[in-house]
Each structure stands twice: as C-alpha cells, then as structure tokens.
C-alpha cells in the first residue's frame, strides 16, 4: 500500500461517512457542517486525480458559496435561540430497501464492466486546457452561462425581496 493509496482511502472515508451523516443527522446545522467535510473530501480526491483547477473551484464555489448560502437559509428560516432545529424522516424502510437494490445494481455494473482505460499521464496543470476549451469549442455554452447567472440573480432577488408598501 503506497502513500497515495492511504490518502485515497482517507479521503474516501471522510467523504462517505460525512455524506451518511448529512442524510441521517436530525439537526440541520450539523447536516450543513457534515456537508462541508464531504465537499472537502471530494476536493481532496480531485487533487489525487490530477484535477487541480476543479479542486480549487470546488472549495471556492461549494464551500465558499453554496454552503454559506445554505447556512444562511438555515439561520433565516429558524430562530436558532429558542426553536428546535430538528427534522424528521419519512418512509424510511421502503426507501432504504429501494436504494439498497439501486445501489447494488449500480455498483455491480461498475465492477463487472471491463474498463479498457489506463490512467493517463497526469498533466502538470489542467487550467490552461480548460481555459482554452472554454473560449474555443465551448464558447457558446460559456456565454449562456453568463445569461444563466444574470437570470438567477434577477430571479432570486425578485422572489426573496420584501414588498415595499
């Protein structure tokens, strides 16, 4: 077992265990914090896979953006001081059975498939390739992304704002 292997198992364990806690814990704030560890674990695995740019973006966008937004949501919709922030679960058993079968099937497919792929040479940096693709082949999608962000901004503001009387 090499050093890389140990790191992989470590990050995989962090990711999976905290993902399980996100789903199972009854306190929303805890869920949000476990989600933080999941995001970090996934970012670590991205680094192992040689995707440095994506790993950094993962931390910046997910941890720095989405998670903060989620925490804001939790804080705004619950009065932390006096109201309990617990959430229940529903339909536990049927869902668990269904998901078990589903997961078994997907994992079995992954194992049985004979992947004809060898790990490719890890490039020193992927940022240049991604940037190049973004403004050549995928420039149209990149432009659409701009419109999408504008619309998300307008939409979120128009739904969440209070009416001035």
């Amino acid at each position: 077992m090499t050093f890389y292997d140990i790191i992989f198992y470590l990050f995989a364990a962090i990711t999976l265990i905290s993902a399980l806690f996100v789903v199972s814990t009854r306190n929303i704030v805890y869920s949000a914090f476990y989600l933080l560890f999941t995001f970090f674990g996934v970012a670590g695995i991205y680094v192992l896979l040689g995707a440095d740019f994506i790993a950094v973006v993962q931390i910046m966008v997910y941890v720095g953006g989405i998670l903060i937004l989620l925490l804001f949501g939790v804080m705004l919709t619950n009065k932390i001081t006096n109201v309990e922030i617990r959430t229940g679960t529903v339909q536990l058993l049927p869902a668990a059975i269904g998901i078990g079968i589903f997961m078994g099937a997907v994992v079995a497919v992954m194992i049985w498939t004979e992947w004809k792929l060898e790990p490719a040479q890890i490039p020193l940096t992927t940022t240049k390739d991604i940037g190049h693709l973004l403004i050549t082949d995928y420039v149209l999608i990149f432009e659409l992304l701009g419109i999408l962000l504008l619309i998300a901004l307008i939409g979120a503001a128009s739904i969440a704002r209070r009416d001035q009387e």
Binding site: V106, V109, M110, W112, T113, I135, T136, D137, Y138, V139, L140, I141, E143, L144, L145, I147, L148, L150, I151, A152, I154, G155, A156, S158, I159, A160, D163
Partner: protein, 476 residues
Amino acid sequence: MPQNNYEYFLLMPQIIIAVGIVLSVLIEITTKKSEQILPWFSIAMFFGTAFYSVFNINQNFVLFSGMIEVGGKPAIFNFIFNIGAALVVLSSIDYLKKYGTYYGEYYILIQSSVLGMMVMSGAKDILMIFMGLELMSICFYVLAGINRKKLSANEASMKYFLLGAFATGFIVYGIALLYGATGTTSIQNLVENFVTYSSNIIFVLGFVFFLIGFSFKIAAVPFHMWVPDVYQGSATTVTSLMSTTGKAAAFSVLIIVLTAVFTFNAPNVFRPYFATISALSMLFGSIVAISQTNLKRMLAYSSISHAGYMAIGLAAGNMFSVAGIIFYLAAYAFMNIGAFTIISIVEGEDDSRTDFDSFSGLNDKSPVLAATMALFMFALAGIPPLAGFFGKYYVFIAAIQSKLTWLAILGVLSSVISVYFYIRVVVVMYFREASEDFKINISPYSLIAVVIAAFFILVFGILPDTLMNVILSALP
C-alpha cells in the same frame, strides 16, 4: 468557435433573444413606463424570431464546431416556442394586472426560458442540452413562484424546484456515465456509434439515468408527482407556458439523443422503457382527470396523459413517428395555451373561479369564450377534424408501423376515456345554469391570443398535410 462570420448570421434567432434579454433588463432599469413597453417588445421579438426561423428552414447547418444546429427540425421547434411564448405574453398583459402588482422580471424570465428551449432543440452536444435545460428550468422555478405573496405559488415553486433539481441530478449522473462510456460529449458521435454503444452496459445505464431525468421534465408517470400541484399553484399564464413549450423542449431533446433510432433504424433498445411510461401515463392521466373538480388540475392530469401519447412516438421509433410527435407538440401547444388563456380570463383575483361551477352557464355570459373553449376541449379530446385528432392519429399510425399495435389500442382506449372529462366542460358551459353571478371582464389582448390559438387549431386540423409536409421536409 465559429469558422467564419457567416455563422453569427445563421445563429440570428438565438442572438436576437439573447440581446433582447439584456435590452429588456436595461429597459426595466431605466424607464418608468416599462409596463407598457416590455410586453410589446417581447412579442415583437418572439414573432420576429419565429418567422426568421421558419423562413430560413432550409439553411440547415451545424455551427460553432459542432455545438448547435440551425434550420430544419430546430427551426420548427423555434416556431413552436416563440409563437407559444408570444401568445402567453399577450394573455399575461391584463392577467398580471389582476394581481395588482407589476412584475417586470416576468417578461425577462419568459424570454430567457425561450432562449433555453431554443438551445435545447438545436443542441448537438450533451453539454449544450444541459445548459439549455438549466436555463429553461431555473426560469420556470422562478416563474412558478412569481406571485410571491401567495402561499400556493410559493409551494408550487418549491415543489417544482426540488423535483426539478432532483431530475437534474439524474441527468448529470447519466451524462457522466455516457461520457465515461464514449469518451466524448458530441451527439454526432453518439448517433454514429449508437449500435456499438448499445451493447455497453455503462452506456445503457447512463442513458437510462438521462431518460429518467427527462421523464420528470415531460411529466410522465411515474415521475409526475409534481405536475398537478405545480400546474394548479402557479399563475395560469405561467402554467400554459410550462405545460406546452417546456414539454416541447424536453421532447426535442429526447428526439435528438435518439436520432440514431429514428433516422438510421438502429434497434431501439429503450423501447420497453418508453412503452411502459407511455402506457402508464395515458391511462393514469385519463382516469385520474375524471374525478377532478378544478379545471387547472384537470388540465394538469390531461397534460400527463398527453405526454403518454407523445411517448408512444418515442417507443415506435421511426421517421414518421418523429414527424407525428412534432405535429402533436405544435397542436398541443395551441390547444393548451388557448384553454389556459380562457381560464385566466374567467379566473378571479385570488385564484378563485377555476373550478367547474364557475364555468357553468358560460355561454350566457360570453358566447365567444364558450365557443372557443368548446373548440379547445374538442381538440384536446382528439375529435376530428381538429388538430388534436391528427396529432394522435399520426402517432398511433407510427406505432402500428413499428408493430406496437397494443400500445396504439391502449392509446385509443385512453382517448375514449378522456372524451368524458373534456366533454363535461362543454356540457357545463352550455347546458347548466350559472351557479354564481359574476361578471367576466374580457381582456382584448387575451381574446386575441385565444383567437390566434383557435385559428392555428383549425388550420392544422383542416389542412394537416401542409404542416406535416413542412415537418417531413425538415427532417433529414
């Protein structure tokens, strides 16, 4: 990346809308009169784009290094999206006033959702499909809850958002597996090697995830749980947009990814999937719609069953069935927008008067509304010689050609069941006394939208070959 500047010219429909969105934002910011300007600006833009697309239907090219297709099939879809959206905007002008508040964002969001649909229908790359889908969906999530003071609109918006994002999760995972199995995201490659890939279990798994995600978007059973509440809770004009053009966009994507099956007669490995969801949707939608007392909810279940009829075409999987689906989508867009517009005229200020009782004796109050509503109901039921009949007819013929006679028979059976609840609306309007006394303020703009929709239904119904020939000539 464009090879030459001519590509920008060919991409004009999408560019018009994209520039229009930015201009609309500027109009909204700078002038106080945007309430009067924006709707007409949007309508002009939509009509311009629609006619530009139709007149350039023969300019069929793939642009931006294999990213987007213009002309041909996408042009017909652009026509459906833009005319549909124009009618919705027309019917919204006075409808929004009923709510007492003016939302400038409303028109901007409709424009952006149309841009998303146009990107979806022309996509030649899976990433393009994803981006168009998200642009459309995010606009719809917001539009569903645009009347933020009303709890039912909030709930509709949240339900739509959570299940839509859930579907997005499936679609992204499916795309990941497709990418792993093929090593590229180009649809050209997917179409050419479809037969080889069909024996790859990862590819099939990814494709099934992708199809599950899109089954949410077309509102097929068993992925329909959001439909009734969202269609009922959203503003009526928004519902008419989501249920027609949104469905058309999702179907356009399914047609694109299954091009190999339709055009090159590749074996349709996903036929059992489509046959199942189509049979379930038709029967479930028709049977549950019978017991509804709210007209919007009834049309939501009818929308589920229409998704089932259209999915018959996907299960059949031949060239004729694609033409049938496109014809059906065009007809369905006008029938449903017409019906919802009439509901929005009759509807009271706080979502009241959408149930059957409010429509009783409509003929005495407004013969025009009653007559056009009857026309739309007959068309939805599929009574000849209206457009809805030929939509179903072409799809059923395609199913019989592909030896799916049992599915066609189920479709006919379900149509017969559905006649009951559509005709019930007509009976209530003509043969029952008005139960409550209220005055209907018929907005002239909405009435124009209704008349245009009725006109298209009659034209498509009496001369179905004209549209069918255009569609068939646009397909490769």
